[in-house]
Symmetry: C3
Subunit: 410 residues, 3 copies
């Protein structure tokens, strides 16, 4: 019982701390202080000023809607004079973070379910019915083979297929693009952001933007950096590409919206920054399967009630809106951790290298490190018997020249 008590007393009333050699040397001391000065500069400069170590941070949550405007005119032999507006060239009508604008197309009108010759190709050209297989469907064929060899035009015969006839002939892409006027179309991007931790929300149509300004403005990085209406040609040009080149075979553009906000400053200073990038890399030397296109159809009924369709191979530019950013706001926890680490780094107390790690790690490590540091500070600087304890913890070593003989082991 008595032994047990002694153990408990020892457990409760003892405190241990590493013993330190204190070297009194100009060279070493100065070197040490220079290192500490560098650390101090790092802590203040990098951690506090640059990285804003006193702030809690949060990532952006965003919702995006888009609306295109503009009218184009085409005058082709197939369609005659024709006006194209938003409902014609935006396909599908709405997407979540994306908008496709058709800039070029191959139209095959009045297709019906019937039989017709295939487009000439090394696998479809034939001399007689024996070259054609009944029921064959290759990956690139437009229909199912009927087994007949029929004239495609005066000079060439191809295998006949049951398909939507006449079949599409997409051998030549119209150049320049049919809807080349799309360069002057405009795109309104409406973006609402939310920082959940700070319950801060804002939209890219800033409070000082009036309805009349919104009706007339066009984004320009220098003159109108906060106008959310973009000229398509300018988007592509800012990304370093040619709109007219891109319009022919299509492509994908990224519209990046960056919301980096310091919420310690006025909310009106939290502003979107726009930038543009082409997302489909163009490799001029290796131009296999370039651009962006897809097929869709508009279905009709003829007078006899039979289904007809207009097949459109649409080439165009898909605009993907990518929203990112983070917000910071003063918070006592990260501030305390970083101040504590900064002090520790400066060698006010033992264990500097250990505590320096805190800068990069989380709040919980901060708590225990601060505890240890605090104990030492209290013992060595605040208690009545501080000199006595320091005496025990530190061994003072004079430099050779100054007092080799004077030293005493403590």
């Amino acid at each position: 019982m008595a032994g047990c008590c002694a153990v408990l007393r020892a457990f409760l009333f003892e405190y241990d701390t590493p013993r330190i050699v204190l070297i009194r040397s100009r060279k070493v001391g100065l070197m040490n202080r220079v290192v500490q000065l560098l650390i101090l500069a790092y802590v203040i400069g990098w951690v506090f000023v640059w990285e804003r170590g006193y702030q809690e941070t949060d990532s952006v949550v965003s919702s995006v809607t888009t609306k295109a405007k503009g009218v184009a005119v085409t005058n082709t032999s197939e369609l005659g004079f024709r006006i194209w507006d938003v409902a014609d060239y935006v396909i599908p009508a709405q997407e979540e973070n994306s908008l496709f604008i058709m800039t070029n197309m191959i139209i095959t009108v009045n297709q019906t379910q019937s039989t017709c010759p295939e487009v000439p190709d090394k696998t479809t050209i034939c001399n007689s019915d024996s070259n054609c297989t009944v029921g064959s469907t290759g990956t690139h064929s437009n229909g199912v083979g009927t087994g007949k060899c029929v004239p495609f035009n005066e000079s060439v015969k191809t295998c006949e297929v049951a398909a939507w006839c006449p079949v599409e002939d997409d051998t030549g892409v119209p150049t320049p693009a049919l809807l080349k006027a799309a360069e002057n179309f405009t795109l309104l991007v409406k973006n609402n952001i939310w920082y959940p931790k700070f319950n801060f929300s804002k939209r890219n149509i800033l409070p000082n933007i009036t309805t009349s300004y919104l009706k007339s403005c066009i984004y320009d990085a220098h003159t109108d950096p906060f106008c959310p209406i973009f000229r398509l040609g300018k988007i592509v040009a800012d990304a370093g590409h040619s709109f007219q080149d891109m319009a022919v075979e299509g492509g994908i553009m990224g519209i990046q919206v960056k919301w980096d906000c310091n919420l310690d400053r006025a909310a009106s200073l939290c502003l979107p920054r726009y930038s543009f990038r082409r997302l489909d890399t163009r490799d001029l030397e290796h131009n296999v399967s370039p651009g962006y296109n897809f097929r869709f159809a508009k279905y009709f009924r003829d007078l006899a009630g039979r289904e007809q369709r207009t097949l459109i191979k649409a080439y165009g530019i898909r605009f993907d809106i990518i929203v990112f950013g983070k917000a910071g706001k003063f918070d006592i926890i990260p501030t305390m951790i970083n101040v504590g680490s900064g002090l520790a780094l400066l060698g006010v107390v033992s264990g500097p290298s250990c505590c320096s790690l805190l800068i990069q790690t989380g709040p919980s490590s901060g708590i225990s490190c601060t505890a240890t540091v605090l104990c030492d500070v209290i013992v060595l600087y605040c208690m009545k018997k501080r000199y006595y304890y320091r005496d025990k913890k530190y061994k003072y070593v004079e430099d050779y020249e100054q007092g080799l003989s004077g030293e005493v082991d403590q």
Copy 2:
């Protein structure tokens, strides 16, 4: 050679560990133990119980499909009595994590490619042909100017355009919303989740949900929290908004599905939690360009084979389904690291503040720290000569009063 051997022997057979001052003082010792008690409470309470430090965690991988149901009736002068079902009001028919339900619209029927007067506007109103430019296409115009000034109605003349005619007049949004009955439409959300690390998958249609329950249930946070069928009006109301207000000009709703699972417990306890939030912020003071709408068209052929279309400016609510969550399961690695750190924090061995960092860092740091700690534990507690080694490592310092003279430097 002999010197080399000596160096090697010294290298192999030496071990160093910091020297410690052990202070025998009630004040300091108790303070130290109180700090350690706080750390222990933190380790057990926060790291183990709250943060589940003994678990490996993984993020959710999810796939979502949605299906709306419901029928609405409109009776307008333009369209007459008309029934709207899913295929009419969901546009496009399917999206990846999103569903748009049209609640209001401006319909312009029987548009054809021809010429007609523009909608009156400060830029389109004219007195004579000299006010109108041939070939002009403004950003907000519906077509290409023909240069003529023609009567829009009895009192106003506007510039004529080649366009889809008659042009849309969207000056007034129908109020209340045409499809106001959409408040009672239902939305079935099917969500499959997967935790790759644990190869655990589950869907939000729980095993105890029968086909008959699924046919009749409606989500309610209190009575039916696991029914995956939502009444649209309830979604908007739970987010604190009015469905009928939102239906007029449209908006975006987020349906958040949270899957936080403790896989140490029964799989049947891993359940989805639903919450709702309006994603497009409504700022009543600054109401420039509110709501959500887009245009699409349905194309027809008239008896002469000319293309006609019905243009619809669709206002509605887009429901974005956002799935998030993480799962945890017991794993020996994080458990060992956290137990080790906990012990170190308690000062069983030297280097407490250092090891506390482990709680926040990865398994590899755990390995080396545990190694160091282990060495010290073995040397100071398990070896035969432990008292001898402790004697060398520790310097015992009695408190002033208790035995200033009794101490010996060691």
Copy 3:
């Protein structure tokens, strides 16, 4: 003033470092070295070789486009002989990272706005008008009740509704799937990736792929692992499911593209890896609401100008393309940090356990730890008075047997 100067001098010219006990013992020394050897093996093996600790890393940014090819034939009583091509079975025509291919359907042709009997169901079967409510719209009804009870067929009477008539009867899904030939359709996935930090971009159509190879190749994990054209049947089979089963009721397939690149090696070795997974879990015991389907309509005008539509309940497979991966490239900062930590871990200097943490933490902690370590190295190994300082820092403890009496406290 003089006191102040003394304090400043002490501050500038002092350096402290923990005192160390150096134990000369075979057992302990060897144990310590073995532990260090394990740490060395860990540092070199895990940190450098496996985790590539000498590299800076970056996450992939990606854009995806898809294109399906293939033709199917159906021969049903409703539609007769009919060819289906891309524009018919891909709905909608384009999505951002996803593609839906219709494999089965229930078609209801020539629907018009009129009145007709509901599909028989326990809520719709009636004996007389008194069973039917005027204006009722249940969640599962196809229209608005007219209050009449009319014959559905010879034996059953149901309530009449104003709806798109005749109403869809989806009680039986066609088995096998109508477009079962979709198994042989192909899917071209075009994927551009970008690593922003290294400004490295690449596409999955590799430079050595020629146009003719791209026209004929089909992906196979063994023979053609870099062909970006996938047979739909193979995708489903590789994920361990049956295409024909999946085609009947639909489902969701994930196509995972992994780009893990070591940019220290040739760019041509940065290659995509494809894998496939079914994203909608199939639980055979609990098969409530299986598969994936949605409804859409094609709108027509009849000769009288009245709107008609063909309603299609489309069953099919949605292919979600999921791109992930990370790239690494040699960088001096992470290399220095990891080499420094490795040295510290080996106990060349004091504070091994502390520095080991660096491996997992960021560059800033590296800076200050390296600083401390450097100071000690210079003082104890490089300065003229190194033996003197070591004498003060270290206390040499011989093992019992070897020289208990020989030790001197220092």
